[in-house]
């Protein structure tokens, strides 16, 4: 079958590639672009491990066909912070022990980022709703919520300074 061309922006870089119509966004992120920070868990939108931010909205990359992403702006975990300078959420997840096996972490960080981008001072309840589509089977969520709360608090301190 003839492949179709797809142009989109991934982590700020324009990307053009030929795509099999059967491939989902998660397939091309991992297999074509080598962005393996995005994990596939359940493959049916229940676990959130494959969460990415598309045009400012958190989505499951396993539920969107690659060709649907034409002209879209995608942010994966590789586009959040860098090894030299971690994003405050990444730093806080480490400090709070919010990472155990790590499989849910990229999705969790992006879910938290999608929230803080539109609501920099969420309540604890709003944080819980924001990560309600992301399953973690290790931590019990307490430290994840705390890690996000710490970033919110640090933001408050920045405001006061």
């Amino acid at each position: 079958m003839k492949k179709q061309s797809l142009t989109m922006t991934v982590n700020g870089e324009p990307v053009s590639l030929l795509v099999d119509s059967r491939h989902r966004l998660i397939d091309i992120l991992r297999d074509e672009l080598g962005l393996i920070g995005t994990k596939e868990g359940c493959g049916e939108g229940e676990c959130g491990a494959c969460s990415v931010i598309m045009d400012g909205k958190l989505i499951n990359a396993c539920l969107v066909m690659a060709l649907q992403c034409a002209q879209k702006n995608i942010l994966t975990i590789e586009g959040v912070g860098s090894v030299a300078k971690l994003h405050p959420l990444q730093d806080s997840f480490m400090k709070n022990g919010a990472v155990q096996c790590g499989y849910c972490t990229p999705g969790m960080i992006l879910a938290a980022k999608a929230l803080l981008d539109v609501n920099p001072k969420p309540t604890k309840e709003e944080i819980k709703v924001a990560i309600s589509g992301n399953l973690c089977r290790c931590t019990g969520y307490t430290n994840i919520v705390k890690a996000i709360e710490d970033v919110v608090k640090a933001g408050d301190q920045d405001d006061e300074q």
């Binding site: 493959g43 939108g45 959130g48 396993c62 060709l67 309600s132």
Partner: protein, 291 residues
């Protein structure tokens, strides 16, 4: 996954032409169900028409007499819209109860209807609100009540060349209050075990002038409880009227479920759901609120 041809029309006319011409065609919108079905081999179309590029279908239009939701409007768009929150609380609450943040960002209101799940989160609210759908094909535009196109679990009566364009919800000048309750195993990422939407339009003296009561996950599709709606007409929302309505609703559930394994649980649970739904209406009524 089986090979298929992929089409991404840029306007409605092009989409309708494709649906008219292509054999074995499926529409791809938000993808939250069909992408899974394609992958599992439950859907094996030769052709897929992706309507997610149709910007015209992603808009919420507020007119004087109605609100029009494009069929590609997401759950998130509905639940975050201030006027929908204010005037159609049952719909806003139902959309907020769907899936997860990700699913609400991807799943569409049109998809929720034509996917025709018994437990479709937005459909009981749409039915209770008297919503109508607008369908287009090469032969023209038609309208139908939401419940009239649903014909069973996963089934609807739209032809393959018909495209669901929008959902129209009547706005009312007089007082209307509504509420929604979803019973499920947990809050997020869960399919409704049962759900109920109630919409009451009230005259100046607090007398009910229109009632919309509908249930989800009780029958193959959400449906209006016309007997209960008729009973409520011309009455006030008193504890006695609520009590009788709850019993009537429980009777309908019992009839619909028959000897199904879930009946023992659902026959009892519906009383709690119905009481909660009416209690929320009473709070609004006493607070002098609308929506």
């Amino acid at each position: 996954m089986k090979q298929f041809n992929y089409f991404r029309p840029q306007h409605i006319g092009e989409a309708i032409n494709l649906l008219e011409q292509l054999p074995e065609v499926r529409i791809l919108a938000g993808g939250t169900d069909i992408v899974i079905h394609l992958r599992e081999g439950k859907a094996t179309p030769q052709n897929v028409v992706d309507i997610s590029g149709l910007a015209e279908l992603t808009e919420i239009d507020i007119c004087e007499n109605e609100v029009s939701l494009g069929s590609m409007v997401t759950f998130t768009q509905v639940m975050e819209h201030p006027l929908i929150k204010e005037e159609f609380a049952c719909l806003s609450d139902a959309c907020a109860a769907a899936g997860s943040p990700q699913i609400r960002n991807q799943g569409t209101i049109g998809g929720n209807i034509v996917n025709a799940s018994p437990a479709a989160d937005s459909v009981p609210a749409l039915v209770a609100l008297g919503a109508r759908i607008v369908i287009k094909s090469a032969r023209g535009t038609e309208e139908a009540k939401v419940e009239d196109i649903l014909t069973g679990v996963g089934r609807h009566s739209l032809a393959k060349n018909q495209l669901l364009i929008s959902i129209k919800i009547p706005r009312v000048v007089d007082r209307q209050i509504s509420s929604f309750t979803k019973l499920a195993r947990r809050n997020a990422l869960t399919i409704a075990r049962m759900s109920m939407a109630a919409v009451l339009r009230l005259g100046e003296t607090g007398i009910i002038t229109r009632a919309g009561i509908s249930l989800g996950a009780v029958a193959p599709n959400p449906f209006p409880l016309t007997g209960v709606e008729e009973y409520l007409m011309g009455k006030g929302l008193t504890p006695e009227v609520i009590g009788t309505s709850v019993e009537k609703i429980a009777q309908v559930v019992q009839q619909k479920l028959g000897e199904r394994a879930s009946a023992v649980y659902k026959n009892e649970a519906i009383r709690g759901i119905a009481n909660q739904t009416f209690a929320k209406l009473q709070v609004k009524l006493e607070g002098g609120r609308i929506g």
